[in-house]
Amino acid sequence: MKFIIAIIKPFKLDEVRQALSNMGVAGMTVTEVKGFGRQKGQTEIYRGAEYSTNMLPKVKLEIAASDDITAQVVETIQATANTGAIGDGKIFVLDLASATRIRTGESGETAL
């Protein structure tokens, strides 16, 4: 099992979610986050007081997936969230030691 973490642009969330549902991903966790990478921040001006925010808002997806679909999930996210501009985000894949469904106590891939 793999744990996939993807940081994407917020306006791409619906598209990515739709694409992942279509390929059979059963669930994910979504969090609004802030961070920085290569993309420049933005400048806010309030009555002449300038604040440059180097932390930009992004959306973080967390998906637990079986080994066989992991590559396809990563591909789908990469293809869907891509705008070609800097700041499109990143995808990380981690090994997942275990998964347990709280309602039934099932564990392993059946719990995904």
Binding site: I45, Y46, R47, G48, A49, T53
Partner: protein
């Protein structure tokens, strides 16, 4: 009696007499009745009666009173509250609300008497005595003068209308040192400042005996009113007064922890927008209500409050469009307030065309002070009380001397020392000089009083919460609650 106002009475009186010929008769009768028993040589003693009260005026003035209260709570509270960080939201709302409550009680206690009487005092042109303290000698049978001969308001209406001005003025000050002031010290400051700065200045600018009395008591007036300074609705008394007190306050209190090193963006410009819009609406009561009658001069003040403000809001947005390519909501809202402040002293004097110019000019000058001068000098006037209220107030007060000129479509001034008020001869240069003197006296008086009060508090009770309390936010450290849960 936003008494400085000179222009209206002659025309207004004529209009009232024409429209309500019945009014003229009781006035004459009343005068005759009183005159009859008096010695032949003595001038008739004029006594206002209930017949000289117009119900339209009373209704308009009571609505205006409620409008001006709305300018403090919630309008000013929301306008300021939106501009601070979320951790200080409630502190600002609480400061404004409490100041309104306390100022209303102080006005009832001694404020009205100090501002609008001239008896029982060694300096009758500077400040009134205590003959009407706790509204002694004020009841449903006493009357306050308007700008027209023989037209009166129930005195209680005038007491309430003016009360709302005493409420909002000290509330304006808190924006200058928002996010870093000790609540109890602030409230003590407000009571003392009202007593030593606001009431005397209101008296000097607005007190006069009234059009039916001045010709028999030509010295019964406030100092600046007597000089001929024009201030329709409170440019000096309210805005310069509060703006300068705010500047002195922020200099003595010192900048916020992290000022210029960490971001302090407004936490909700939505609230600020709601506040600015309600301020504009309420300002119709503030300015048009200051005509004290429901007549054409109220309408003139009303339309000037409309168009000068519109010009100022649009001007600020245009300046930002040119300088940053992005016109901001906060900018437009700041322009709106700058325009409202600037038109306040001129509302009943200017032609709407010159009012528009005054609003736009004030907006540009305030923009310069808020964005450039403040950054250069480095003082932390958190919400720009000085940059908008004092600067806009000064531009408006001096500009009033220009736009009031009948040659520019203005209303000039009225000579109330004649038995029936008549237009006085207007000279723009003389008037502008007079306006500058009135500004100078107000600035000097309020600077000294504010500095003495703030320094006294600084070295006794303290003006600031400790650094930890300030960093945690005044909501939780001073008031034990949070705005958003």
């Amino acid at each position: 009696m936003k008494r400085i106002l000179c222009t209206t009475a002659a025309l207004a009186t004529g209009a009232v007499m024409l429209a309500f010929p019945a009014l003229a008769a009781p006035v004459a009768e009343a005068a005759a009745e009183v005159a009859a028993p008096a010695a032949e040589a003595a001038p008739a003693v004029f006594t206002p009666t209930a017949e000289m009260v117009n119900k339209g005026d009373v209704a308009w003035m009571m609505v205006s009173t409620a409008f001006v209260l709305m300018m403090s709570v919630p309008a000013l509270a929301l306008f300021y509250g939106g501009l601070v960080r979320a951790k200080n939201m409630l502190s600002v709302l609480m400061q404004v609300l409490t100041i309104v409550c306390v100022a209303a009680l102080v006005w009832f206690g001694w404020g009205y008497s100090m501002a609008f009487t001239s008896t029982g005092t060694p300096f009758p042109t500077i400040v009134g005595g205590l003959d009407k303290a706790f509204l002694a000698n004020v009841n449903v049978g006493t009357f306050a003068a308007t700008f027209s001969n023989g037209v009166y308001l129930p005195e209680l209406v005038f007491v309430m209308f003016q009360m709302t001005f005493a409420c909002i003025t000290p509330a304006l000050i808190v924006g200058a040192f928002a996010e870093r002031i000790k609540f109890t010290s602030l409230i003590i400051f407000v009571v003392a400042w009202l007593t030593l700065a606001y009431f005397p200045i209101a008296h000097m600018v607005w007190y006069w005996a009234g059009p039916d009395f001045l010709h028999t008591a030509p010295t019964d007036m406030g100092l600046l009113w007597g000089w001929g300074a024009l201030d329709f609705a409170g440019g000096t008394v309210v805005h310069i007064n509060a703006g300068i007190a705010g500047l002195v306050g922020c200099l003595i209190v010192g900048p916020r922890i992290g000022y210029k090193t960490e971001p302090m963006p407004p936490h909700s410009l939505v609230m600020t927008m709601i506040g600015a819009s309600l301020l504009w609406i309420g300002w119709f009561g503030f300015n048009a209500g200051s005509a004290l009658e429901s007549n054409a001069f109220a309408a003139l003040a009303f339309i000037n409050t409309f168009v000068a403000t519109a010009a100022a809001g649009a001007a600020w947005a245009m300046i930002e469009q040119i300088t940053h390519k992005k016109p901001s909501l906060l900018g437009a809202a700041s322009g709106v307030v700058a325009g409202l402040v600037a038109i306040t002293p001129a509302a009943g004097f200017a032609h709407p065309g010159t009012a528009i110019i005054l609003g736009a000019v004030a907006s540009a000058i305030c923009y310069f002070f808020v964005t450039t001068v403040k950054n250069k000098l480095g003082y932390d006037d958190s919400l720009d009380v000085f940059g908008i209220h004092a600067v806009g107030g000064i531009v408006g007060a001096i500009g009033t001397g220009v736009v009031a000129d009948p040659a520019l479509g203005g209303q000039g001034w009225i000579d109330y020392t004649a038995p029936v008020a008549a237009a006085g001869e207007f000279d723009m240069v003389t008037q502008v000089v007079t306006q500058c003197w009135a500004v100078g006296v107000t600035v000097a008086w309020t600077s000294v009083v504010s500095a003495v009060l703030f320094l006294t508090l600084k070295y006794t009770l303290g003006l600031r919460p400790d650094a930890e309390a300030e960093t945690n936010g005044l909501d939780i450290s001073e008031h034990g609650e949070r705005a958003y849960n």
